[in-house]
Symmetry: C2
Subunit: 184 residues, 2 copies
Amino acid sequence: MTVKNPWQRLGSKLIYSNPWITVREDDVITPGGRPGIYGVVETRIATGVVALTEAGEIYLVGQYRYPVDEYSWEIPEGGSEVGEDPMVTAKRELREETGLEADSWEPLGGEIHLSNCFSSERGFLYLARGLHQGAAEPDHTEELQVQKTPFVECLAMVDRGEIKDSLTVIAVLRTARLLGMRSA
Amino acid sequence: MTVKNPWQRLGSKLIYSNPWITVREDDVITPGGRPGIYGVVETRIATGVVALTEAGEIYLVGQYRYPVDEYSWEIPEGGSEVGEDPMVTAKRELREETGLEADSWEPLGGEIHLSNCFSSERGFLYLARGLHQGAAEPDHTEELQVQKTPFVECLAMVDRGEIKDSLTVIAVLRTARLLGMRSA
């Protein structure tokens, strides 16, 4: 298997930057040997948490996602600060969005590349168990809804296409495999 | 459940455009009522195909993904032309990357939002069966490798985190559910 990078980067210029994304355009030689450009969107690392209760429920957060112009139910998610361990991010996001802390944290499968054609975004998922309400109150606005939902219902929402967020879809399907659940 | 868009868009300016992505920055009023900006990356619709043989193999395509700087094994994928039915895209991409045509096409689950924090990118997956070699030869460069792989091995690659592309991970996990396969 070829693993050597067949692209050559001749130069790179900054196109745009805000606190969440940076867009650069590279001058490249393509794998076919022709000069070209490659526009790349750089982002923070994305994290997501399946917070699973002993009764087999997980926490979903509902919010309006501006870029897709749709309301979306998702697991608690958030972006890492530069250099931050993604699990630390995940713990913070869970606490901020639900007020929960957890005794047990483990990776839920490996790294995800969310959209590798144009973006360097990487995602990491975690399974949190042994949940208890933390000291801090959730820091969410009224536009964020939090709902404890039976996992089987979340899985049905994924199967029916009602949950569309890629990290949440992957997290729910991975959890279903962990729990040994077959399709309905 | 709130479904009304709590964001107000006051204006929008084009930041960058190439044949694959367009970046715009909107002036907004946030759900909390404060003025702000939102940078949004617009892309073509993404499609992916699980091409499943009667012997239970699927086709994987290997290529170097420049934005993440890694070699990646994925199902055949490609972006739609404007206004194109994503299934038409999927059929073309399968033919171009593998030379295959299929008698049976069906959606493999619902729409995916690949990275809804900053991108409007939507993905659609298909399951193709009844495969046969088409008249056209694959139009791929030497940098694209095509490999017919037992589905159980693809599933193991997903479980081990060796397949990282989000659409491929979702496609393989959905196919595993369809085929009624439990975790190893």
